[in-house]
């Protein structure tokens, strides 16, 4: 198991290096940040002065190697979105908001999606199956920004039940969490349903029933345990969905997380903050996937055996 984890950590390091390189060059392909930072009447001399201040006057390859050395020490440079502040510090300040929203969205998706997916499979063809499949179809087809805006106007403005945007108390979290969590909820429902149906069709389920075991025990203990591996694998992918979904949902609901910060940084061509936010997202994504891989290894002996061989 230790070797398995070591291999995964090494792969993670290579992936982070790749991300760091890609984000550096792609950010610079988007254009000159001075065209965003400098005022309309700025002269060529103003441009040259600011390029020197920001280190943009050096050859690209020199900038790249300096960047690698600096980020290895946790220094992403100064944020131009928040002058005078370290870019990584700005990003880390916004991480808790996204993690909080993402955690609630995912918790909702799993806590509602797993039982609903199971119920949908167990009571196939009944009303709850229809509800589960219908909500899953909507969740996968309706874009998060549209869902967000509709909820905002319905529950925030017309009905006045919930605050429209921003961070406040728990009520502020309901609409963005629903908008962000509906898609992964739909995926969990569908995967859980399909996985349960597959497991329930296995011969040993008939054997358990013929032994006179309680139906709830059969489903909850035997079928669920075997069916859970598929949604768990998807959980790692869901983190990516939530992180990218946060870009849209946080903008609609003015939620001060890294998704909205990423948009602001890209639009402002703030290289330092863009690089820091992408790297932090990448580390979160890979970290969660590492944990999922670890859990997968714990759940499935074949994975452990495969890593040993």
């Amino acid at each position: 198991m230790a070797r398995y984890i070591t291999n995964r950590l090494f792969q993670m390091f290579l992936a982070i290096l790749g991300v760091a390189t890609i984000v550096f060059f792609v950010a610079r392909l988007s254009g000159n940040p001075l065209d965003v930072i400098m005022p309309i009447g700025a002269s060529d001399a103003d441009y040259e002065r600011m390029a020197e201040v920001l280190g943009l006057n050096e050859p690209l390859i020199v900038q790249y190697f300096k960047y690698l050395v600096n980020i290895a020490q946790g220094d992403f440079g100064q944020s131009s979105l928040r002058p005078g502040r370290d870019a990584l510090g700005v990003v880390l300040e916004h991480v808790p908001a996204t993690l909080r929203l993402g955690a609630v969205s995912l918790a909702g998706a799993v806590l509602l999606g797993v039982p609903l997916g199971m119920a949908s499979a167990v009571y196939r063809g009944r009303s709850i199956d229809f509800v589960a499949r219908g909500s899953a179809a909507l969740g996968q087809s309706l874009p998060a920004f549209w869902v967000g805006i509709m909820m905002l106007w319905l529950f925030g403005v017309r009905l006045g039940w919930l605050p429209t945007s921003g961070r406040g108390d728990w009520r502020n979290m309901i609409m963005p969490a629903l908008a962000m969590g509906w898609y992964p909820f739909a995926a969990v429902v569908r995967l859980m349903r399909a996985s349960m149906l597959e497991v329930m069709a296995k011969p040993y389920m008939l054997l358990l029933e013929s032994k006179g075991l309680n139906r709830f025990t059969i489903i909850a203990k035997h079928a669920f345990k075997n069916a859970a591996a598929v949604p768990l694998t998807y959980f790692g992918i869901t983190i990516g969905v939530v992180l990218t979904g946060s870009v849209v949902v946080e903008t609609v609901f003015s939620w001060p997380g890294i998704g909205r910060l990423a948009i602001d940084a890209v639009m402002s061509r703030d290289f330092a903050t863009t690089q820091a936010v992408v790297m932090v997202m990448a580390v979160i994504y890979m970290g969660v996937n590492l944990i999922v891989d670890f859990l997968y290894g714990v759940l499935d002996p074949r994975v452990r055996a495969g890593s040993r061989s």
Binding site: G84, L111, W170, F216, P256, R260, D264
Partner: protein, 572 residues
């Protein structure tokens, strides 16, 4: 227990588990520590509930006139900072409530008026300005009295290497000297006829920081709790969320703002900002004009600035004929022909532009960059306006024929993009395209971004035949506008000719008022009669307010954000 009953019981267990899961989800999260004490979410809610017993979220229907915290749902500033030299125009708004300048702006006319300086005079060549400072002004948070030392510091800050102010170079070459505690001399490297604009709110320059705070705390002090002298005091900010100001009980004017606290909440989406006000969580917002009718239908009102200080226009590329090394792309020869530019101007119905794009809340520009009180203004421009800029599609076709073109020969590309504060531009470009199409001109719309446009226009060749929207906000002094945008040496290099370049060179160094007026007029004549741009609409700042809370607001609207004088907000 039979199988059917077992199934029913199991079904109920599933329902129970699902309900429990839903309750866990709803129960997640608690009171957010970072919620501002006086945020719209809380203070407005509490006040509204106390007064009206209305729903927990507050409502636009209920009378909320006595709210202590006035909440503004605003476009986020870029960047967020307390360092005004690092923000320029886009970030100016977040400093306005608590900072002051040497000069303010007259409420009715927008002209420079005493603020921290009470008198001023320039030497003969306008390189030295001596200002008498107001006595007895106290900085917030106990940082002592305002003196000439604070002006010396503030001039240094504006000229720093990391300054993004349009005038950074000018301030870097300037030097301020304290002649006494309440007298300061500012020396410029070159004559600065319009220094008063730079001392006042017309440009994003001139905020005065506390030297005492700077000496004690440096940049960290400005970043954490900057001291100003304004009607409000900086309180706190949360990155990406809000900034809050509290009322200054000891402002030097003796005036006391009505609201104890004002709070700007940053909301990137227009629709979210409008929703905030409609739900009663905010009371003022800066949504795009296309949403104003909807806001009015919902019972909200519009407050307007006293001065119409914004001009929107379309700029031509490929018309920098005064540039020695520039050779226009002759594959697109029409760009250099004044009659074609005239036809493009006369084929636009500005009344309709104003009605449909600006919701009737604007007027046509007579001469881009000029208002009647500015140097060089000519009454003839107003008299000739119908002939040169009035809507006349037949005359547009005639002008093209005189230039030797059929309308279908003219194929401009319209760069379509929006920038903060001008969300209407993409719609405007579609409107212009349709107007030109009515006389047979086939324009193509190319969706892009402003920074990409900036890059392309710097490299003059290759961008010919493109037309793009721009604004003159707040309306600059004519000379400043021309040298920033129309000078062949400027990055934009909009329309110019060898003759206009020669005049501009003289104009920039002239200090005799009559001479300047003559040169400004000659320059303006060339630009006006040769259709150097497509001037469209002039308008003031306009904001949506909840009339149950905001009864009135008197402000000139001369800054780029338009919003100032929060102390003049009258509550219901």
């Amino acid at each position: 227990m039979n199988a059917s009953l077992r199934r029913k019981l199991t079904y109920r267990r599933f329902v129970a588990v699902a309900l429990a899961a839903a309750m866990v989800l709803v129960a997640c999260g608690g009171q957010d520590d970072e919620t501002p004490e006086g945020s719209g979410d809380d203070s407005t809610t509490d006040d509204t509930t106390d007064d009206t017993g209305d729903d927990a979220n507050g409502s636009a229907d209920g009378p909320t006139g006595d709210v202590d915290t006035l909440v503004f749902a605003l476009t986020p500033p870029d960047p967020e900072t307390n360092r005004h030299w690092a923000s320029g125009s886009p970030g100016q708004l977040q400093l306005e409530p608590y900072m002051e300048r040497l000069l303010g702006n007259d409420l009715e006319t927008g002209a420079a008026a005493p603020e921290l300086a009470v008198e001023w005079e320039a030497n003969d060549d306008f390189t030295e300005w001596t200002l008498q400072l107001r006595e007895g002004v106290q900085f917030h948070h106990g940082w002592g009295e305002f003196t000439a030392d604070d002006v010396v510091l503030s001039v240094e800050l504006m000229g720093r290497d990391d300054s993004v102010l349009e005038t950074a170079e000018m301030w870097a070459g300037a030097e301020a000297e304290a002649l006494g505690p309440y007298e300061v001399l500012i020396r410029f490297a070159e004559p600065q006829i319009f220094a008063l604009d730079f001392f006042s709110g017309e440009r994003p320059d001139g905020f005065i920081y506390s030297a005492a705070q700077w000496d004690a705390e440096g940049e960290a002090g400005i970043d954490s709790k900057p001291a100003g002298t304004g009607h409000y005091m900086y309180d706190e900010r949360s990155s990406g969320e809000w900034i809050r100001f509290t009322r200054n009980p000891d402002h030097w004017s003796g005036e006391l703002a009505e609201s104890e606290t004002i709070e700007f909440r940053w909301e990137p989406e227009d629709s979210t900002r409008l929703a905030r006000v409609l739900s009663g969580e905010a009371h003022v917002t800066d949504i795009g004009r296309e949403l104003h009718p909807q806001a009015i239908d919902e019972g909200l009102e519009i407050v307007r600035s006293n001065v119409e200080n914004h001009q929107s226009f379309l700029a031509f590329t490929g018309t920098s004929m005064g540039q020695a090394d520039y050779e226009p792309n002759m594959d697109i020869p029409w760009v250099a022909d004044a009659r074609v530019r005239g036809a493009l101007n006369k084929a636009i119905n500005r009344d309709e532009v104003i009605e449909f794009i600006y919701e009737g809340d604007a007027k046509p520009i007579i001469a881009l960059g000029w208002t009647p009180e500015r140097e060089g203004w000519s009454d003839e421009w107003a008299a000739d306006w119908d002939e040169y800029y009035g809507y006349d599609p037949d005359r547009a076709v005639e002008l093209l024929a005189e230039a030797g073109y059929e309308p279908s020969d003219i194929t401009p590309t319209l760069w379509s993009f929006e920038i903060a504060g001008s969300p209407e531009w993409p719609l405007l470009m579609e409107f212009v395209q349709q107007q030109w199409e009515q006389i047979g001109i086939r324009a193509t719309i190319e969706e892009t971004q402003f920074d990409i446009v900036r890059e392309q226009v710097v490299d003059r060749a290759g961008a010919e035949g493109h037309i793009y929207p721009l604004r003159n906000t707040p309306i600059r002094q004519p000379q400043i506008l021309q040298q920033n945008l129309f000078d062949a040496e400027s990055r934009y290099g909009m329309f110019n000719t060898p003759e206009s370049e020669d005049i501009l060179d003289q104009w920039q160094v002239a200090i005799d008022p009559d001479e300047r007026d003559r040169l400004a007029n000659e320059f303006g004549d060339i630009k006006y009669y040769e259709w150097g741009a497509i001037p469209l609409a002039q308008f003031g700042a306009a904001f949506v307010v909840d009339p149950d809370v905001v009864a009135g607001w008197d402000f000139p609207g001369v800054t780029s954000a338009g919003m100032t004088q929060w102390e003049n907000i009258r509550k219901d």
